[in-house]
């Protein structure tokens, strides 16, 4: 998959008209994710009803890949359980880093539109940032980063 197919219609559409963009009146969990390499940042707020993500919203400053990834993520995890969301986070990170075999069973569905970032090492973190921030929020960590000790490309999923 090349870059051209990364910037395909569905990603450009989510960048232009991001879903669940904004803030929540009532949020049980929230986090801010930073990518210090480019200055991008993303706020994610969600409300857990027992174990279910019943609402989620995001806002921030970011590139198209990051914004579309965040937008699609919110549509996919809404209504899912916390552990389903964690599974998706793990699978998405693995896919972005080229560690997931897309031919074997997974739960990513149309999120595979982001598979092309694995060929663009400098853009992997753009796609991962929303998922990394969601992981932090679910684990009650309020700020996270794509770099240093928080780096999701070095940390394993169990680390907050």
């Amino acid at each position: 998959m090349n870059t051209k197919s990364l910037y395909q219609e569905v990603i450009l559409d989510h960048n232009k008209k991001p879903r669940n963009y904004g803030t929540l009146d009532k949020a049980s969990h929230q986090a801010v994710g930073h990518n210090p390499l480019c200055g991008d940042h993303l706020n994610i707020a969600l409300n857990l009803d027992r174990d279910l993500i019943d609402s989620i919203a995001f806002h921030g400053e970011s590139c198209a890949i990051c914004k579309a990834s965040a937008s699609m993520m919110t549509t996919v995890v809404k209504g899912k359980t916390r552990s389903d969301a964690e599974t998706l986070i793990q699978e998405f990170r693995d896919m972005a880093m080229g560690k997931l075999d897309l031919d074997s069973p997974h739960h990513l569905g149309r999120l595979t539109v982001f598979a092309g970032v694995r060929d663009l090492p400098t853009r992997v973190k753009c796609a991962i940032l929303p998922w990394h921030t969601l992981h932090a929020a679910l684990n009650s960590v309020t700020t996270t980063s794509t770099e240093a000790a928080d780096d999701p490309m070095h940390a394993t999923i169990g680390d907050a």
Binding site: T3, L6, L12, N15, C38, E61, A64
Partner: protein, 419 residues
């Protein structure tokens, strides 16, 4: 926006054959994403011509041994070539003596040398260091480290919206505690050429030494350190068609002699006992350990190559590129140029309304065009000009007008994708 006039163009343009020059650079024949490479990231690092590559190979294949110590043929040859390269660099910047030219690993290393060698000895608690908003992080962080260690203070020269230093404000920052000035010659992010000669003169009237970060200047214009009268001038080899891992610190001999060594080790000593070590004379006092000999010799070949073309011819062609690219990009809707100083090198920083620089960079790469995106290691500049990041096209003498066209067409494609 007013651009500098090229009065050199009529004399030099006929002698300057860009296609002939391009043939010297093997990497420019590369295809990227099935398109001819258009390399516009020269402010980050320039490419290497065949004569420099050949020189590295010849040294490694026929002349290599450790320098300054062996009595055998190869050691004597390597030492002579290494010192010959130092004299080439001396000539290149018109230093008074070759011992004023110190090989470092790059600009960052050179600035750190001055911080440790001069700063830690002569700057104390309550003293003030003047830097500018335009500085690269490499001319900020070492001085912050010193300020923290000594309890010294950093004062910062502001800029206007065009990205020019406010010289009046610079002059107002001086007081009896001012002990050092660090200024970059040319802004890596914006291309602004700073009026360093008058700034140096002003500092000297108050007895304050000045370090110039010349990393973005020496590849693009004639630099004469005696004419500038700067106390220190730092630059890198890899932005000058030379290898990575090598750079130069020029320093006035009387200052270098008063300074303490930066790194301790072999070559920088005259004698060592466990009771007392006597340091070597300059420049060797500052060249501890085995240096990157091949890279130093390669850098000598690189300045030979550049002088063969002529720095005035290089400056004239790059000005043509800048003027043409500036004119072309101004015709694109929603594009804003960041950095509009009247005197600039061929650096074009810009933002495109509604498109993040990283998306621009990735899509231009798809067209074979290499640009830099991000904060360019100048976060204070980005903060001041209220842009989180920019896209930067930076030109070299081997770029062509046709490449500018490819770049502009690429930007049109980016805009089409994002409408």
């Amino acid at each position: 926006m007013k651009l500098i006039e090229s009065d050199l163009k009529p004399q030099f343009a006929p002698m300057f054959d860009v296609e002939h020059i391009r043939a010297d650079f093997p990497i420019l024949k590369l295809q990227v994403n099935d398109r001819p490479l258009v390399y516009l990231d020269n402010a980050a690092s320039s490419q290497m011509p065949q004569p420099v590559i050949d020189r590295l190979v010849r040294y490694q294949a026929t002349q290599h041994a450790n320098i300054n110590r062996g009595v055998h043929y190869l050691s004597e040859t390597a030492t002579a070539e290494y010192e010959d390269s130092r004299r080439k660099l001396q000539y290149f910047i018109n230093a008074r003596e070759d011992r004023e030219v110190i090989f470092t690993s790059g600009t960052t290393d050179a600035i750190n040398l001055v911080m440790h060698g001069y700063g830690r000895k002569f700057i104390g608690g309550g003293d003030e260091i003047i830097l500018t908003t335009l500085e690269h992080h490499s001319n900020i962080v070492p001085w912050q480290m010193l300020a923290e260690e000594k309890g010294a203070k950093i004062r910062v020269v502001p800029i206007n919206d065009a990205g020019e230093l406010l010289v009046d404000e610079y002059e107002k920052l001086f007081n009896e505690r001012t002990k050092f000035v660090g200024v970059l010659h040319v802004s890596n992010a914006l291309g602004t050429v700073n009026p360093i000669k008058s700034m140096i003169e002003f500092a000297h009237k108050r007895g304050v030494p000045v370090l110039i970060d010349g990393a973005q200047a020496v590849p693009h214009m004639k630099v004469d350190v005696q004419d500038l009268d700067c106390d220190f001038y730092a630059f890198s080899g890899h932005k000058l068609c030379g290898p990575t891992g090598i750079g130069i610190l020029y320093g006035k001999a009387e200052l270098l002699e008063r300074m303490q060594p930066f790194k301790g080790g072999g070559d920088m000593i005259l004698s060592v006992t466990f009771e007392k070590t006597t340091y070597n004379t300059i420049p060797h006092k500052f060249e501890a350990g085995t240096p990157p000999i091949a890279a130093a010799i390669g850098l000598g070949a690189a300045v030979d190559y550049l002088l063969g073309i002529g720095m005035d011819a290089i400056a004239a062609h790059e000005l043509d590129l800048l003027n043409y690219a500036t004119e072309q990009i101004r015709h694109l809707p929603g594009v804003r140029i960041i950095g509009t100083a009247p005197v600039k090198t061929a650096v074009l920083s810009f933002e495109v309304k509604g498109v993040h620089p990283h998306d621009i960079g990735t899509l231009l790469n798809q067209e074979g065009v290499a640009v830099r995106t991000g904060h360019h290691c100048v976060q204070p500049v980005m903060l001041r000009l209220k842009v989180p990041a920019t896209t930067r096209a930076s030109f070299a003498f081997y770029n062509t007008m046709a490449e500018v066209d490819t770049f502009i067409t690429g930007l049109r494609t980016v805009q089409k994708v994002f409408t």
